[in-house]
Symmetry: D2
Subunit: 339 residues, 4 copies
């Protein structure tokens, strides 16, 4: 099934993580997170993040984002996010559902990144009366939905604005590893040190079998989260199999190896199609303004990818994942170079 | 880790199902259910149920129950269930959350089974005004939370009462395989043929790695369900790994082999403690009124199980699962016989 | 239209309160509560309650109860209430709707009053895990739905149990004036002094034109309430007309005059039917076990009232309101005496 | 308190409607809408609208809009509305609350009116997958929040687009009378004949004491609405006082007299400030781009009004209501002419 550049969700599971599942499959252990693997998450992630953290395994990123936000935001709370954010476009209203009717307010910015000035202006202009939603949280995405990444200072600038006004900061890290590799910084640098209160830590797109985590850097938020998680049907009875993957993911360097590979593929694809690149290729996604005929040509050659943007915009999204084959990527690059 | 009789959730994953995960781990496939395994679910389960069915993989039973009910019940809808039901006692309000504030109304009955006469009386006495919840669904559990099973006629009696008044019928089949084996009937006999509209089909407790399914016997309910599932964060991006397990589970007879084993263990435990048995042992759970000192004695001998009922009631729940060892069960039976 | 004993909701508006509406109808004032009448509520009720209070006018009692509870209770919170409570039986799930899916747990007790021992037992037996609702509030009704009243010590006993475990105490005072008159105590004695955190203060049933108030004795809860009120569509643009009634109600003694009259009528009715009285007549409601033929006889004589209890239980509820005519009551009493 | 041009919510109650309240204050009648006034609403409004209608009295416009939309829109439904709409800017998320987390999608258009082409484009570009909200309703405002009105053809153009795709059409008629007078059409022409499915019929801003109605032109939607209304705490026990006003409002021509007066005042104000007018003055609201110093000057002269638009935009909103005095309006016009 060569030539799949649809999404990193189409990738298979990394052998190291499958192996972790096998190792966890050893007899009976207590359910619902009282197992040795889940119990070790806080320590393992604490080392990874160089901080005290509270980690909760989940099976989807939509659940991670929505449950995290529900803990931060009252039903009458406004969540500020970029218009391209997954919570805006791709979750069928999960944040609205979990918050009990919160509202997402879009804040613009180039290349999928929220512009801090636009955010400040939005907050400054916000009415304070009971007639409107109350600003409660800002949600960023790292790497962004357009394949770019926020630098630590970009995150802290927005977090600073947020905290000054009493808003919480949530980070959708569905492609967190890709951002870490791209920036070559420590996990702490783009999370708690930059002002992030809670992180949706994604592993699924980078090689796991339905393994995500919500990571809190603030103990006060944890109890509410746990109850909302159970209530949302997201407390896994056999948590060990997700937790074991998460442990292997952060402890054995799978996160880095897989992200390096995916990012490198994307960089090559971007370089091969340099004339068409719409946003800097900083993670594992490439956005190209190819025009409809070039897109058709690529597809005729067996390459699969999603259309992007408005109909007939001629835009395409190509995503590289950890299990892309060398030869598929090379074939794609060749095809792109000849367009 | 001998002597674990806490719950069938503590069991490991059955080798056949782990194998199915491996087989599904073959390169890239489309995400969110557009994969060959998920696409085959309707057919495979259609054969299993001898009917046209619509099957949706999920990772938890709480999600299965709540999402199914949310599709059947408006926010002002009443759901009738036995007081021991999982949705009443163990889901932290997931059905209320997913239905937008529906209410569960308890209907009594011996041995964890809803009494049809009590159900009829409850319905007859229900006010019809706008001041009260509107009867919308009945939720049964098979096998029940007290280890008993409904016969086909018991289900159809209740379903008949429900349908006559326009209520839907949902079946929580977290231990559906145990019930099937216990009754020695066909899956159809205790589902659509008996009037069940939607089934929460559990595999996790019987050997799977977080694999459940909602099975609709009525196409009209499907679209609403799909949107609520996504919105609840329960549409799995890498659905293939759950679907592959579900296929193996129904197609290779794992469901039957594992349930036979677990039920047989429970039967032996029940027989060994016949004087203390509280409810007929018809599936894989045994409820014993041992008294506090006998319970302490068993625990001192290394057997693990949960207290049941009110504090100092002396009641205990012992659950047998597919991966219990022969020797553990025998040791437990010996210990019980000497009490 | 003689002989109406259906409900105190069937009564007309007291002339003093209609007069207050007229006085408030003086030109333009700011909307949404920024008017002189609404601005004076905290002071006027502060004097009434001998405490700092925060008062919010509303047009229905269901809104008062549900909004108050929503401020006290998270979506995963349990509300303890007597099985006869309005929030249980007559609000079509408004508390569940406003809390985002909270659950009401019934606690028994004779004569419509929650038994403190039963409440303590329920709390003691409550599991603490994330799998169940978290105890969050107790809701009492004063006067109760069965026409009885709680003494100050009865309220404080329950409030003490609640506060010890971190639960809030809400009082449904739809018939608060009737209880005050019955007990001959000060408003403080059965509210904040007894441990009540928030009161649904009813005036509608006692002579007002859709005028209720939520009264907080704790400032910390107020902001959340105000936002939920707006969001529920219960912030009245022309608040002055409700506030002016509430001011007249507490400041001119209408509350007392009307309640004295209604209670006295009920006492006479109860005395006339002493053999049939089911619960002590302590407010303005009378419950009689008449049997179906006597009920039919009364109705044939032109007296209107609701059936109560189960079908063919022969029970009847008769409610006296402030605008009952002397002659109607006397006629009813005569009829009852001859039964 | 001369010179109040804040809002038509600041106006007092029209004498005819106060009189209607008095007439309704005649002894006991059944509660919760089973009274003679409420029972006559369908007929009276049926004549007004020349159609079979189903009318429900309410005390706030926010409730009317939100409850109507909740009946039309599932929790995963998108509601299309102009960015200036009351449901977008002024209801603290009531539509999101009542729909269980629906989302409002803004569609642009000049002068507060949704542009049909923009609406068509938005619908055409909408993804159909389960990952996004499902288009469910369009909500228009008549007169708009910028004081303009939709002609019958403008409404039917949008309604046609909506119905073609299975969306319902809701009309926020908080200033419906002002629009009717402005257009000089029949009520049917801008409601059901133009494709409106449900109308929020406002009377409060035009002289009533908290009297609004939801008017359905489709019987199928009614039962769901009634249950949601009760559940929202919006079923008034003493409905008669709102219903009596609504009857007087439509039957005696108060709606027309008051709207004519308010519209005429606004026209004069607009003419006096013609150089500053931002949007055609078609109802009872006038929007002026005065600049900050002129605004200060007006205020120094005792005229009260709200700022509009962004800070330092220099924009002002002046609203004329039925009870504005001739002399106040004339004084304002003089002041405006000298600016």
């Amino acid at each position: 099934m060569a030539g799949y550049f649809f999404s990193d969700n189409t990738a298979s599971v990394s052998p190291e993580l499958l192996e972790a599942i096998h190792e966890a499959n050893a007899g009976q252990v207590k359910a619902y997170g009282d197992d040795p693997w889940t119990q070790r998450l806080n320590d393992a992630f604490g080392k990874f993040f160089e901080a005290e953290v509270f980690v909760f395994p989940l099976s989807t990123g939509t659940a991670a984002n929505s449950l995290a936000l529900a803990t931060l935001v009252p039903p009458y709370g406004a969540i500020f996010a970029h218009g391209e954010a997954h919570i805006v476009r791709d979750e069928c209203g999960a944040p609205e559902f979990y918050t009990g009717g919160g509202r997402i307010v879009e804040v613009e910015g180039a290349d999928g990144k929220m512009n801090p000035d636009a955010f400040a202006e939005t907050l400054d202009a916000w009415p304070t009366s009971v007639h409107t939603y109350q600003p409660s949280a800002v949600a960023l995405t790292q790497a962004t939905e357009l394949g770019t990444v926020y630098g630590p200072h970009e995150i802290s600038a927005i977090a600073h604005l947020a905290h000054k006004r009493g808003l919480h900061v949530q980070l959708d890290g569905a492609r967190f590893a890709n951002a870490l590799v791209s920036l070559d910084v420590k996990p702490a640098d783009i999370t708690w040190r930059a002002g992030v209160d809670v992180l949706s830590f994604g592993a699924t797109k980078n090689g796991a079998l339905g393994a995500e985590a919500v990571v809190f850097f603030d103990r006060a938020l944890v109890r509410d989260f746990e109850l909302r998680r159970k209530r949302g049907g997201h407390l896994l009875s056999k948590s060990r199999y997700v937790s074991a993957q998460l442990l292997a993911y952060v402890e054995t360097g799978v996160w880095r190896r897989n992200a390096i590979r995916a990012n490198a593929f994307a960089a090559r694809i971007g370089a091969a199609a340099a004339d068409f690149v719409m946003h800097a290729v900083q993670a594992n996604e490439v956005f190209l303004r190819l025009g409809d005929s070039r897109k058709a040509q690529l597809r005729a050659n067996g390459f699969h990818f999603y259309d992007w943007g408005a109909e007939r915009s001629g835009e395409a999204r190509l995503v590289a994942s950890w299990d892309q084959s060398e030869s598929d990527v090379e074939a794609l690059c060749s095809a792109l170079r000849t367009l």
